[in-house]
Amino acid sequence: MIVGMPEPTTIESSLPTHSKIAAGETRLPALRRIALSPSLALALTIGIFVLYGLTQTSSFASGAVWINIVRDASFTAIIASFEAIVIIGGGLDLSVGSVFAAGAMVSAALANQGLSPLIAFAGGTMAGAGVGLVNGLIVNYFSIPAIIVTLGTMFGVSSLVVHFSQGQPIAPLPSSFSYIGQNDLFGVPYIIYVAVVIAVIAYLLLHATTLGWNIRALGANREAARSSGIRVRALSISLYVYCGAAAAFAGALEAARLGAGSPDFGTGLELTVIAAAIIGGTSIYGGLRTIPGAALGSLLLSVLATGLILLNIDPTLQDLATGIVLILAAGLDQVRRRQMFRTSARRARAAENP
């Protein structure tokens, strides 16, 4: 054995003590974290827009208007919650608009055959999960980029929906099926409760379960996740399945609300959903999480859509507003990442050289 360095009996005895690996310290100063959080920026944006709206027209104060805004946002939010999870896991799902229509049509067809609402909803949702499974399998076993695969299934599913329906809507639907889409509890539509429950489930999945940590690891560094023993393929496939199921379920809910299923449901919805997730602070680079953001993003888009109409602004300009908000949100994500690493790199150096 080479001499020159005394053989320590234990590591502890040979090293300077380091009393301060606190388990409870927070990452960034709390105020700064809140200031940089995309949810706060979103809430402020919505608040400012609404305040401005209130000065212009009293319609902004109407409860019925707000019920409509939130109900519209609910559909986007249900899907955006799980789209966000796919993106956080390093993927992307462009097929949600088509799957939304497929879910609506399958469940409408089942309900129209006189099957119970439960079976109709389950059937539609399963169809979406099936499309998600196909997406996940192709992405993970053939290494084709998710953006291409899901663009392909978007076209494919849309085509199948039109083919099987002959382009015709399915109606009428039994009132037992439509019940959940058309009725209120304490003046608030069931749809909104359903969306809240689903967003909370997505939130818990991502923030509180071990699965959520694996998803974030998968999205941030797939190779490292694999080396650490996470079954990355199975995990990634499951995210597409959840997302497909969520999109189809939302479609079934839309069919229940309108009392009919139509093959042109969900046109362009995938872009709204992805925009909502990104506006909500989901980083397109994967890894960073936020489900409340995705829900707030959905709300912002819905507020803008209705608000611009109330303000008598040409509704064709609505997409311009969406576009600007989207780019601003992505810019905020960049700033946030840089800030996060800069602040803490300083603290890491301080801990190393006390």
Partner: protein, 263 residues
């Protein structure tokens, strides 16, 4: 057929080997990355694996870490033959690996990284963050790795701190074999010495440390035996105490060794 000269190599332990590769082969397309490689490693020793670029070190690491399976030959851990493997299985069977790229996630905090793929659960599916924070802090403290907080994101840390986290993760798994791939490549002098101390401590606890490194000085200071690979073959095996640095360099470059390449 190569015959490793066993003359000057004392087996460091009376215990049976904890890790054995017998006549291992691994090819990628037309390239034979490992050709008839055999090695044994024992509890309480540090076996260094040396070699130039393309010698087969990385492939051997990946085989041991469970990323690749051998095409032919046998891998035995604790006397049990391993047929098919994965990183997860390798870890369960007794090998903890500190990868060269560390296999850490920059956007997750230190505790999440330490428990990546093996989190502590609370109830059925929930992550027990509190216990992970506490245990991560304890593991790091025991190895003398200083970090601002176990809630700090890994992306914030210096190279030495990251290496410390990756090593602490492997040590915490308490497996009989710890495989370290280039653990000092990104480190300064002080951190390198620290890693050396950790290696000695692991040996003292009876672990088998496999140390893959370019750093001859480090290998000579902290290993017990060294195995030189060249062009996918075992070029030689020496006891570090009696080895001569010039000879080892000559083996790495192919100018000396037990195996003479033909053409």
């Amino acid at each position: 057929m190569l015959a490793s000269s066993e003359i000057d190599i004392k087996v460091p332990s009376s215990l049976p080997p904890v890790l054995e590769v017998t006549n291992g082969w691994k090819s990628f397309g037309h390239v034979d990355a490992l050709r008839d490689v055999s090695l044994s490693a024992y509890p309480g020793e540090t076996l260094a694996i040396l070699g130039d670029n393309g010698a087969g070190k990385s492939t051997l690491v990946k085989v041991l870490a469970g990323v690749h399976n051998l095409d032919a030959g046998e891998l035995r851990i604790n006397g049990r033959t391993v047929d098919r493997t994965s990183p997860l299985l390798a870890r369960r069977q007794g090998i903890s690996t500190v990868f060269q790229d560390l296999a850490v996630i920059e956007t997750l905090d230190i505790a999440a990284n330490m428990f990546l793929g093996q989190q502590i659960r609370r109830g059925w599916i929930f992550a027990n963050r509190r216990r992970m924070f506490t245990e991560a802090a304890e593991s790091l403290a025991a190895l003398g790795v200083r970090v601002p907080s176990v809630r700090a994101q890994l992306g914030e840390l210096s190279g030495g701190q990251r290496q410390g986290v990756a090593i602490a993760r492997a040590v915490r798994e308490d497996n009989p074999i710890v495989l370290m791939d280039e653990p000092t490549a990104a480190l300064g002098v002080r951190e390198t010495a620290h890693v050396g101390k950790i290696i000695r401590e692991l040996k003292r606890r009876g672990k088998c440390v496999i140390l893959v490194s370019h750093d001859l000085e480090f290998v000579f200071e902290f290993s017990d035996r060294l195995l030189v690979l060249r062009l996918g073959r075992v070029q030689g095996l020496r006891s570090t105490g009696s080895a001569n640095q010039q000879e080892v360099v000559a083996m790495i470059t192919g100018l000396a060794g037990d195996y003479e390449a033909k053409g």
